[in-house]
């Protein structure tokens, strides 16, 4: 299953509609106006429950798709070389989708997702040249720590959607070759 999570109103929706025409198993969430609170580090998910988040906001409607998607496409702006506030808060809250067992990548300790097959594709929209190496570094670090396939692609809101669809498919070869 593909899940598209958008913190913008153009690229994600068009991608969803285009991939849906290809009969892909796909869901779309626009989080621009969603209520996503910050992770308060309360440790409820590890001390009072088994990986359940105590904060009852719009994240509760995203968790199952975030857990089960084999291809997670995030679309949104870049702020000072970071994900946007909304996307970063969502990723912060994904701690409950982590594996309680630490991993080892052959060199270092890693902190994996429960869904180890998941590919995460960040489509960074209209990014300033100076932001590109900084956000790319963050996405690379996400890849290293989770051992999931995190990749970053820089797109323009004026890009042809058919071309972007190919970018998603080419950038996520493993997902599409399996499905």
């Amino acid at each position: 299953m593909i899940a598209i999570i958008s913190d913008e109103n153009v690229i994600g929706k068009q991608l969803y509609e285009s991939l849906k025409l290809d009969d892909e198993d796909i869901v779309y969430h626009n989080i621009v106006n969603q209520d996503i609170s910050t992770c308060m580090g309360c440790d409820y998910c590890y001390s009072k429950s088994f990986l359940e988040c105590v904060i009852k906001d719009d994240m509760q409607g995203l968790y199952s798709d975030l857990l089960e998607a084999n291809l997670l496409v995030l679309t949104g702006p870049v702020c000072f070389g970071s994900y946007s506030e909304k996307i970063k808060k969502m990723l912060d809250r994904m701690v409950v989708l982590g594996d309680i067992r630490y991993g080892f990548d052959g060199k270092e300790v890693t902190a994996n997702f429960q869904n180890k097959e998941q590919h995460v594709y960040f489509m960074a929209v209209d990014v300033a040249a100076e932001d590109k190496p900084v956000i790319d570094y963050l996405v690379t670090q996400n890849h290293i720590i989770t051992q999931n396939q995190f990749t970053c692609h820089f797109v323009s809101s004026n890009d042809d959607i058919a071309a972007l669809k190919e970018v998603v498919k080419n950038g996520s070869v493993d997902y599409f070759s399996k499905s």
Binding site: G41, G81, Y102
Partner: protein, 208 residues
């Protein structure tokens, strides 16, 4: 010179708070809590030197720090020329796991025509849970001494070099890292069992 220390952790008593208090004891200045204090932006506009100290959530500061930077970006004229330091601490012992946070602050400062003065990255921070730095296993005394050097740079408004905090990185690689992963997993499972939680349960968010 007015010094502002921003506590960028939702927790008021954790390791980030301890680092804020350590810096304040040495240099003075005011600590403001990003979570719940509505005056953070106003205080940034009045301060001459800003130090942001927070935890690492999935390779960078919490999303609230991004929100703060976006708010501050509306005040470029007032912020131009101010000095900013960045401190980030997280669980993994590797600096590269956390150092995007200070790169983001550097990027922000460059955009805003502020002076990025340097950063400090601490691995293993959550082990302390608010206790002083010298309680850090293996290199606690060194970490306390190096952070004190960083604080001296802040008090003198001097730039700091990444080599300062990089000197704290421990070579936890290869078989040692494998062993550490096994040990940490064992401890986490043990803690869950002690709380009556079955570590083999399915996620409450799994549909099937």
């Amino acid at each position: 010179m007015d010094q502002l220390i921003i506590l960028a952790s939702p927790r008021k008593k954790g390791t980030s708070a301890m680092l804020c208090e350590t810096l304040q004891k040495k240099n003075g200045g005011e600590i403001v809590h990003l979570f719940g204090d509505q005056s953070v932006v106003d205080k940034c506009l009045k301060a001459q030197v800003i130090t942001i100290i927070g935890p690492c959530y999935i390779n960078s500061y919490p999303g609230d720090v991004v929100a703060l930077l976006c708010q501050l970006a509306q005040y470029q004229t007032q912020l131009a020329g101010k000095k900013m330091y960045a401190v980030i601490q997280g669980g993994m012992p590797y600096m590269h796991t956390h150092d995007h946070g200070i790169k983001m602050i550097e990027r922000f400062c460059n955009t805003m025509h502020m002076h990025y003065m340097g950063g400090f990255v601490l691995g293993g921070g959550p082990i302390l849970d608010g206790k002083p730095l010298n309680n850090l296993p293996f290199n606690g005394k060194k970490a306390a001494a190096v952070f004190d050097q960083f604080a001296t740079h802040v008090s003198l408004c001097q730039p700091t070099d990444d080599s300062l905090y990089q000197s704290l990185e421990m070579p936890i690689k290869g078989p040692f890292a494998w062993g550490l992963a096994k040990f940490l997993s064992h401890m986490k499972i043990k803690q869950l069992r002690q709380k009556g939680i079955n570590p083999n349960e399915k996620s409450p968010y799994a549909r099937s």
